[in-house]
Symmetry: C2
Subunit: 141 residues, 2 copies
DNA sequence: GAAAAATCAGACTAAAATGCTCCGAATTTA
DNA sequence: TAAATTCGGAGCATTTTAGTCTGATTTTTC
């Protein structure tokens, strides 16, 4: 069970963008240099963030990316889900709480209790941390 | 970020073993049938559980596996870690709390706060659920 | 003692996911 | 027009996953 480099690099890049860009567009190249990520790979990550509406892009000379919304309103969960897709280590954890959904065995049904708790704890955790906090933390270092 | 079939099948198999074996050895074949897992694959999973000291084996006719310790003392985390290895989606989340460890950039350092919280929440969750509870739950269904 | 039922050990493999790179656009500014 | 940038997609090498196959070993039963 691993968080891929998409999530790891991408969050770092996003924080970098938040810290280093003051409303001004920040180029992929400069983020890539500071964060020691390859430019080509970072392009892919930024594309995902843009698709999710978390960043906006400006083309051409002096172009780059800006963060689309106040960082106080963007959670780590928003960023990670944009990059990684759903943060649910185990599918079929049953959106509905009841045991109504068909299980071929009771062990299967019971294990869903576990999967649901894992999924919930992860999502609760990442949704409770906002980029704004991390930016402040970063400036304080 | 996915929990592999090792963990998913393995926990189900372990619960099955706990529920269906009453001190008596339970064969891989019977678990595999109930849980709809291939015998050869389940052999691998049981080997891991045995190596971790969570189950004991009896060879020969009427042999099989028994759970090595009281199910009230075995957590879901014990089982999943035996099957999957460490449950840390992000490495380098820093065992030590301080920011002393070298970070090439502040974003990198700050993101560790996130990784650590994710790792902790997962481990706390799986370590707070015991197989005994799940067995009871299963019997109650 | 032979046959059957089981665990055990390890090599092997197919498929999928991951982690990238590369190329050639298109866009904007200077 | 040239340079700096984002954009889009194809492609690929490596690793991980998921699982099979084979054969050996142990134990019980007849």
């Amino acid at each position: 069970m691993k968080l891929s480099t998409k999530g790891r690099y991408g969050l770092r890049a996003f924080i970098d963008l938040a810290v280093s860009g003051e409303g001004q567009p920040v180029s992929i190249i400069s983020i890539a240099q500071r964060q020691e990520i390859s430019v080509s790979y970072l392009e892919k990550l930024m594309a995902k963030l843009k698709k999710a509406g978390l960043v906006e892009s400006v083309r051409g000379v002096n172009g780059g990316y800006t963060i689309a919304r106040p960082v106080e309103e963007i959670s780590v969960g928003d960023v990670l889900r944009a990059l990684e897709g759903d943060l649910v280590p185990v599918e079929c954890a049953g959106i509905d709480e009841s045991h109504a959904t068909h299980c071929s065995s009771s062990s299967q049904c019971v294990s869903k209790i576990v999967w649901k708790r894992i999924n919930d704890c992860i999502n609760d955790t990442v949704d409770s941390i906002y980029i704004g906090e991390l930016v402040q933390e970063s400036r304080g270092l």
